[in-house]
Each structure stands twice: as structure tokens, then as C-alpha cells.
Amino acid sequence: MNGPQESKSERNKKLSKASTVTEYAAHYQQAYPRLMAVAAGVLGRREGAEDIVQDAASLAVEKRREFDSPAAYVAWMFGVVRRFALNERRKTHRRQTYATDPHEFTAVSDVHSTPGPLPVDPCSGELVAGQASFEDDLLEALHDLSEDARCCLLLRTVHDLSYAEIEQLLGIPRGTAMSHVHRSRQHLRTRLASQETRT
């Protein structure tokens, strides 16, 4: 409760500040699922995405005075999340030249064609059932795509964003986003259809 000695301007300042924080919180909360999608898209997995968004949010707080609105502030965070996720991916993957052209899936597909260690059931010692399931194949096939292609695919398929919205979030031309989604779908279908034929 405000004391009688508190001036009107001080009270207004507090109200204005509280509204800015609330406004920022609302924008951040609204953007959060998409920020997570961008991080997961670049990484190719959900694990670690939350830490990246958290780190980006911390940096954004330090830079907050450079923006004239909470909306601009949150929009800038998409670029930071993407950059942080790219750095993280580079740190955790051995150096590869990833093709940025959605046509060039083959340039990276060989990297994942060598199977890694497979999980073993601790009781039976057998390979875990379902490891070669559709979802596992899909998650593996996702790594054939470039980082941007994965982001576009997730934002379009899971978050139902329009290509105009993807253009705005990722700062890539709308045509490129469409091309990424189209070719990613094509590639995943081809890859999974061939896996199913093999099994």
C-alpha cells in the first residue's frame, strides 16, 4: 500500500513499470513455445532447448534498453536463440559442412548412415523392442535436414505458422521457408518409405 507521502508521479512510475513488466512477461510467454521450437529445430532434439532459451532470455534482459518495446525485444530473441542453438550444435557435433540448399540432403545423409551403439534391455540383454520403430527412423531422418529446414518444418507442422510468420521469425525469405518445408516433407517420406520397405 502506498504511503500518503508518496508523490503522484512516483505512483505513476510504479504503475507504468509494472505494466511494462507484465507486458514483457505476456510477450515472452506467448513467444516461448516458438522460441523452444527454433532451439529444438536447430539442435534436432528437444533436450537442451530449454537451456538455450533461458540463456537467450538472460542475454536479452541485459540488452533490454536497446529496444523500444517488449515486442521488439522478444522478436530479437529469436535471432539470439537461433545463434545460441547453432553454437551448441557446433560444440556437440563433430565439424561437418551442412548444405544449406534444401536439395542437398545427400551431402549430410551419409554422416548418420553408420549406426551408433544400440540400447540394450538391462534385463534380457536384447535390443530394446521398437528401437527401429517409425519414430526412431523419423528422428534420425530429421538429422539429414539442415538446421533451418528443421526449424521451418517444426514451425509449420507443429506450430501451424504461416510462411509469412516463419519469414518474420527466422528472417529468411518466404519462398525459402516454403521450399524447406516442401523438400523436408519429401525427404522424410522418401526416407521413411524406404525404411518401411526394408523392414
Binding site: T22, A25, A26, P33, A57, P173, R174, L192
Partner: protein
């Protein structure tokens, strides 16, 4: 020869899955699905992929604690310090959630549907690229890869001959335009942005050279050789880049 672009089965499937087909086209496509087992199999597979992506990458919501943690420094470092108890933070987060819903409701409106592909006037693509900083999507300095990009996208490997002093190629972009596969070469000529668009003649459209008021100062040049169509969009009154693209 200029022909209207006919959407491929893949494009139609995309549009169908994106719910972007007009009712009549949708109905016709569903009839085809009933008669074409391969197409139906592709559609079913894509549905499974989409469902699996949604299951493996569910939409993550920010918890109230997380929002509170992120917004706390906004409070602490300002001259007017408002320290909220945990209970007040919970209220704040709840208010933020309501505001978020209102924001989303206020800005969403009726769902906009993307068409499968619409050719865009190239001057419009040029202006949008300049507005976005005129940065290529793909900096390509390797001749082999440069040729391979065109080979894969347009079916013909292209090479770039040495450009004269004052002109340089920045890289390649895939900004659409004539078709999904249009490849654009971004150049700087005497400091000015110049774009060369390359595609197959089948994708050519009279829309390519259309200009609006925003692009009336631009020049558009067209050439066709070696089974490809080339457009240069430039502020200069003569082509300064397209002639250096040649078959490899």
C-alpha cells in the same frame, strides 16, 4: 515459351495437408486419393510423419516460475524497485497468461491460408531481399558447389565467368519468384544490389517482369539460353551480371 505453372502432385499434397486447397480442388484431390493408391500412401505417410513430429516436439508452454525468473531482472535493475512475493509473482504470471491469450486473440484473426505456390513479380522479390539486408542465403565461393546447386535445382550446372572490377557475386538465395526452385544470384555492381534469377523455361511466367510503383526505377532483363531462363533485376539500364552465367 511461357506456360502457366501446373502444381505437381507433391505441391498438391502439401496444399492438401496444409488445408490450403479451395473446396472444389480439395474435393477433386480427394477423389484422386481414392483412385491412386500411391498418392494415398504418400498422404497417409505424411499424416503419420506430422503426427509423430507433434508427439516428439510437443508445444512447450513457459511455466509461471520460468517467466518470473526471466522477468525478475527487469524489476531489480530499475530505479523503482518492486519486489514481489512468490504469491504476487504467481498473480503476475497469471495476468501475463491472460494478456498473452488476449494478445494472441487480438492479432490472430481468421486463419490465413498459404497457397501451395504463387509466382511473384521478381522486382517484388528484389525489393524484399534488399529490405532484408541483401544477404545471400548461401555464400558460395566454391565453383563445384555453385555448379551443383544449379544442377540440382535447374537440372543444368552453371558457372560464373570472372566478373569485371566493381562487380562481385555475394552468393545464392532461393527466394521463390517463378517457382519454388528459382535460384537467385545476388551481386553487388558498383555498390548497387543486382539479382539474377534462374529457372527452367517451363516455370516462366508473364508475372515475372511485372513492376509496381515501388519498383518503377528498376530494370528487368530477360534472356533464355542453354535450356534455362534468366532474369536480371537491376537499378542499371543495361544487364551487368546475367551475361557472366554460363553453362559449365
Amino acid at each position: 515459351m511461357i506456360r502457366p505453372e501446373l502444381p505437381s502432385d507433391d505441391s498438391l499434397l502439401d496444399a492438401y495437408l496444409d488445408d490450403a486447397l479451395e473446396p472444389a480442388a480439395r474435393e477433386a484431390f480427394e477423389v484422386r486419393l481414392g483412385n491412386d493408391p500411391e498418392l494415398a500412401r504418400q498422404a497417409e505417410l505424411q499424416h503419420r510423419i506430422n503426427a509423430s513430429l507433434k508427439a516428439n516436439f510437443p508445444i512447450d508452454e513457459a511455466s509461471a516460475e520460468h517467466v518470473a525468473e526471466v522477468t525478475a531482472p527487469l524489476e531489480e535493475s530499475e530505479p523503482v524497485i518492486l519486489r514481489f512475493s512468490r504469491r504476487r509473482w504467481a498473480w503476475l504470471a497469471a495476468a501475463a497468461a491472460v494478456a498473452g491469450v488476449l494478445l494472441a486473440w487480438g492479432t490472430s484473426g481468421p486463419r490465413r491460408v498459404d497457397p501451395y505456390f504463387e509466382p511473384t513479380p521478381l522486382a517484388e522479390v528484389y525489393n524484399a531481399t534488399v529490405k532484408q539486408g541483401f544477404e545471400p542465403y548461401y555464400e558460395c565461393e566454391d565453383d563445384e558447389r555453385f555448379a551443383r546447386v544449379f544442377s540440382k535445382r535447374q537440372g543444368i550446372p552453371l558457372a560464373l565467368l570472372p566478373m569485371p572490377e566493381g562487380s562481385r557475386m555475394l552468393g545464392l538465395s532461393y527466394p521463390g519468384g517463378l517457382s519454388r526452385d528459382t535460384t537467385a544470384m545476388l551481386c553487388r555492381v558498383d555498390g548497387e544490389p543486382v539479382m539474377v534469377f534462374v529457372d527452367q523455361p517451363e516455370a516462366d511466367s508473364s508475372l515475372a517482369a511485372e513492376k509496381s510503383a515501388a519498383s518503377e526505377d528498376l530494370y528487368i532483363f530477360r534472356d533464355e539460353h542453354d535450356g534455362l531462363v534468366f532474369y536480371e533485376v537491376t537499378p542499371f539500364d543495361t544487364p551487368r551480371a546475367m551475361q557472366y552465367l554460363t553453362i559449365r
